[in-house]
Amino acid sequence: MNRRNFIRVLSQSLLAAGLLPRRAAAAQFSEKRHIQFVFAQIKYRGGDWNPHPLSVTPLMEELMLRTSIEPATARHEATLTDRDLFNYPFLYIAGKYEFDPFTQEEIETLRRFLSFGGFLLIDDALGQQGYGFDKAMRREMQKVFPGNEFKRLPASHAALKSYYLLRRIGGVRIANPNLEAITLGNATPVIYCQNDLGGAWERDRLGNWISACTPGGEPQRRDAFHLGINLILYAMTENYKEDLIHVPFIRRRLTR
């Protein structure tokens, strides 16, 4: 057993025994780790770009615990005009309220980002269709991909089986039981959730959940974490789970 595995097993044991907060466990892992994934969150003008400041770390801890990915536990805050934006192929944008329109440069950058392999997860913390963040986001995405509207993500999409076989979409509230997405060719670079995923992931510094998930409670929160992990894996493996070698296994499990 190497050092990493030893620490991991030890941490899991302590976690299971309730002796070590999850955040502390994540800190243990971060030592001399080779970071493979950074969760980058977009800051924008107007509105509230940061409705859940503590939401990312719990998700990253979960990602580290469940998968072979070594993520940075802290998020990276980025603007669409950052020169190093393309160092972070996974972008997250969240909010509650309507925000200022993107500049033309920002729109072009985002279009280029998404067209050449980047991924954008949109999370509506308000959950009101046609109002606030939802209204602004749909407006801006129309500018990024004119004529390419959001469409409901089919249940068979690779993003819903990239790690967990998801049958439900979690979040703080179920404003929309489905995900929406913009597809370019065979890729789906933009996925939109209106259930406030960040709210479900967020935990205070003492390790307590900040928002209650309704109406499904903790299973609904667990679905939100599963979706977050699935979307990260989808961004990093594309439609890998649609390769022929996976199809019979997945079909068998889904039909059980």
């Binding site: 595995n5 991991r8 097993v9 899991q12 080779h34 493979q36 994934f37 615990l65 469940r66 998968t67 072979s68 990915i69 070594e70 934006l85 393309f86 160092n87 192929p89 950058t109 280029r112 980002f113 050449f116 392999g117 980047g118 089986k161 990239s162 790690y163 967990y164 076989l165 065979n186 667990r222 599963h226 990260i232 894996l233 961004a235 990093m236 493996t237 594309e238 890998y240 789970k241 390769d243 070698i245 996976h246 296994f249 997945i250 499990r253 059980r256």
Partner: protein, 751 residues
């Protein structure tokens, strides 16, 4: 015999008038003489004058003597003897059965022409102006004495074309006597649309259709190219004669291995059946296939029971197996590059969790599939062309025996690429594995993964010319493109390189190998000492540079590893199929390790004949750089393999193989059935006649003579005309008569 003819151009009435006037003149002379001479003397003189006048009037009638002589012409006769290979087939079913009377069709023709007390060829020479030819694919004049030595060896029969040509040259008075089995396999196979022949053709058919026994494979339609793993279909036709009621097996072989067997029930005579077969090749290369029916009892021709053909099996896709240690951006963009390449078929496994990662749901709520390690490494590995180990450590998953399999896979011609990361090279424990000797870098267990930024790639001298790193055709622009590539953040340090280093690292790790390539056995290997190549794609896109450099780099890596022909250092050019005896040029191109052409290489070129007999072909460098040519003349039909191997200063540069077919295009021996029908048609359309050789007798020759006679008679009558007035004796007679008259008149005192 001479006959008298009057050919005067004067009208008869004028001559009659002159005669009456002459009689009147004689009467007046008689009355005048009677007064001065006695009656007898008067009669004598008048009679003399009457004879003179009579002779003159006779000449007015134009008397001529015509001498008629009957004669015979020696008419030209062209005799054509078919000496094609099919004339070596048995003349009859009896002959095929191997009886003492067994003889070939040409034997039978020779016997007719040269046998007997007075051979036919002598009689023809006597009676005709004989022009004797043997023919097959061309026409060759022969003399009568060479007929017994004639051999059936022409590789085709341009029967209709040559008869047409001979008829045109022979002249209107001639005829053609043709000895053939009627098999015509030149450009023209029927008389349909052919111009009519100006001379009669007397066709003598050799070989008997009745009792002809043969089964043959005809019209094989197989693709020249097929793709590995994809079924290809072929169609063939089985023809049979004289075998009604029999069932014969048809064997379909690849090399000497039986693929499948079919039973062919022959239920008609003549019999024809189309058969469809298929095969799925599993290995690339040129494969020889054969279709065969065993010789049947009484069969006259057995060489047409088998057909051979070649199919060049290519890969339709380069099959790649990638094993990635975890989801990562490098995998994401590697996958994107491979998925966009239509030549690549990708099977990838990404280890989404390690054995120590915990899950919070039952397995049936996870999309994870068990890694089919036994299937992949014990069964399926041979079906891949390349294996990519992408930040993948074998230690958590592999029995070491699987790495032995990967090593053997490369040694046998597969390609292996290892991409960097914390699970690769020394960090992945490969320094103690079977792949240590395979990889193009030296591993000592001490090298580690270094996560420091700003590693810029630098092209080495080899890298500047090598097709993997040549992203742009112009060397200068290519170098410039590499200087603009985004920097990398991770580097696996290795002790050194054993193969060619194409890229080194700049910055803090200056000079460290970044991209190295090598060979192991028949296969190729590549080591890329970073897990950050994705930055050359996505960050380049962000910098408004082209992400295509990354895509192209991956594609070129794949093609070089898969030994795509355009990436070979020894490249044999395709050789067109040839005919026996035809000199062919075998061309090849040789590139150095830096992929620049060289004319200094030592090239060994071998041609292996249909029976496996090898021949070394001397090769010379052309004026054009890197091009070499050798000349070879195949002696006989069959498939010839060509192997080229080049080295420079003792260092092997590579090998290449190809093959070519040598065959006559006529299919002379495919169908041995005598074509009496065609000969009959030829004879009928030319006003000639058909004879079967077996029925040939004395009367046949007489019949031919009679037909030639009716066409243009040989009997001629020669006439010689002698005009009497143009001879001396009539003039002498007149002079004598007039002299006697003058002398008598003088004697009797009239003058």
């Amino acid at each position: 015999m001479k006959e008298l003819y009057f050919i005067s151009s004067l009208p008869g009435w004028l001559i009659a008038l002159v005669a009456l006037a002459t009689i009147a003149l004689l009467l007046q002379q008689f009355l005048s003489l009677k007064q001065r001479l006695s009656l007898a003397q008067s009669w004598f003189l008048v009679l003399l004058r009457a004879v003179v006048y009579g002779v003159l009037i006779f000449f007015l009638l134009g008397p001529s003597l015509i001498d008629k002589r009957a004669g015979k012409l020696r008419r030209p006769l062209t005799v054509l003897i078919d000496s094609s290979e099919s004339m070596a087939f048995p003349a009859s079913a009896k002959a095929a059965a191997g009886s003492s009377a067994g003889k070939s069709r040409l034997d039978a023709v020779r016997e007719k022409l040269t046998g007997g007390k007075e051979p036919l060829i002598q009689r023809l020479s006597r009676d005709y102006d004989l022009r004797l030819f043997r023919f097959g694919t061309d026409l060759e004049p022969i003399d009568a004495t060479s007929v017994p030595q004639l051999k059936a060896q022409a590789q085709g029969t341009r029967l209709l074309e040559l008869v047409q040509s001979v008829a045109k040259d022979a002249g209107a008075q001639s005829a053609i006597l043709l000895f053939s089995d009627g098999i015509a396999n030149g450009d023209r196979k029927t008389l349909e649309g052919a111009p009519s022949l100006p001379v009669p053709v007397f066709a003598v058919g050799a070989g008997e259709a009745e009792g002809f026994t043969d089964v043959r494979i005809a019209e094989v339609r197989a693709p020249q190219f097929a793709f590995r793993g994809r079924e290809f279909k072929l169609d063939l036709t089985v023809h049979a004669a004289g075998l009604k009621g029999k069932t014969v097996p048809l064997y379909f072989n690849r090399g000497k291995n039986l693929i499948t067997t079919r039973s062919v029930s022959i239920d008609a005579d003549p019999f024809e059946q189309k058969i469809a077969l298929s095969f799925t090749p599993k290995e690339i290369g040129t494969h020889s296939f054969s279709l065969a029916i065993p010789p049947q009892a009484g069969e006259q021709i057995t060489r047409n029971n088998q057909k051979e053909f070649k199919v060049d099996v290519q890969r339709d896709k380069i099959r790649i197996l990638t094993l990635s240690g975890s989801p990562a951006w490098n995998y994401r963009f590697l996958r994107m590059a491979m998925k966009q390449d239509p030549l690549i078929e990708l099977v990838s496994f990404v280890f989404l969790r390690t054995p120590t990662d915990s899950v919070d749901v039952p397995d049936n709520q996870l999309s994870l599939i068990p890694f089919p390690i036994d299937d992949i490494f014990l069964e399926e590995l041979k079906n891949f062309d390349l294996v990519f180990l992408d930040d993948f450590s074998h230690r958590a998953y592999f029995n070491p025996v699987y790495l032995d399999r990967v090593r053997d896979f490369v040694r046998d011609g597969g390609g292996l690429a290892m991409f960097g990361g914390v699970r690769s090279f020394d960090s992945g424990g490969y320094g103690e594995s079977a792949l240590k000797e395979v990889l193009p870098v030296e591993l000592d267990g001490k090298g580690g993964y270094q996560s420091s930024g700003n590693i810029r790639p630098v092209l080495t001298a080899s890298g500047k010319a090598h097709p993997i790193t040549r992203l742009l055709p112009d060397p200068r622009i290519n170098e410039e493109a590499w200087t603009k590539m985004p920097t990398l953040n991770g580097l696996n340090r290795v002790r050194g390189a054993r193969g060619e280093v194409l890229l080194t690292a700049d910055g803090a790790a200056a000079g460290a190998p970044l991209l190295a390539i090598g060979r192991f056995g028949k296969g190729r290997t590549l080591a890329f000492m970073s897990d950050d190549a994705w930055r050359w794609n996505f960050i380049a896109a962000g910098n408004r540079e082209s992400p295509h450099n990354h895509l192209k780099l991956i594609r070129q890596m794949v093609r070089w590893l898969a030994q795509e022909p355009s990436f070979e250092q020894v490249q044999l050019r395709a050789i067109a199929n040839a005919r026996p005896g035809e000199k062919i040029a075998i061309k090849l191109r040789v590139l150095k390790d830096d992929f620049l052409p060289t004319s200094q290489a030592s090239v060994q070129l071998r041609v292996i004949g249909p029976e496996g007999e090898p021949s070394l072909v001397s090769v010379s460098a052309d004026t054009e750089g890197g091009e070499y040519t050798g000349e070879y003349t195949p002696a006989r039909e069959g498939t010839y393999r060509v192997e080229a191997e080049a080295s420079l200063a003792g260092k092997p540069l590579g090998k290449d193989r190809t093959s070519f077919s040598v065959a006559y295009g006529y299919g002379e021996t495919d169908d041995g059935l005598p074509r009496a029908d065609l000969l009959k048609q030829l004879a009928a359309t030319s006003q000639g006649e058909f004879f079967s050789l077996s029925d040939w007798n004395e009367k046949s020759l007489e019949k031919i003579a009679a037909r030639i006679e009716s066409h243009a008679p040989a009997q001629i009558t020669e006439q010689r005309q002698t005009r009497l007035w143009s001879t001396l004796w009539p003039f002498s007679l007149l002079l004598a008569l007039l002299s006697v008259e003058w002398w008598m008149r003088r004697k009797w005192g009239l003058i």
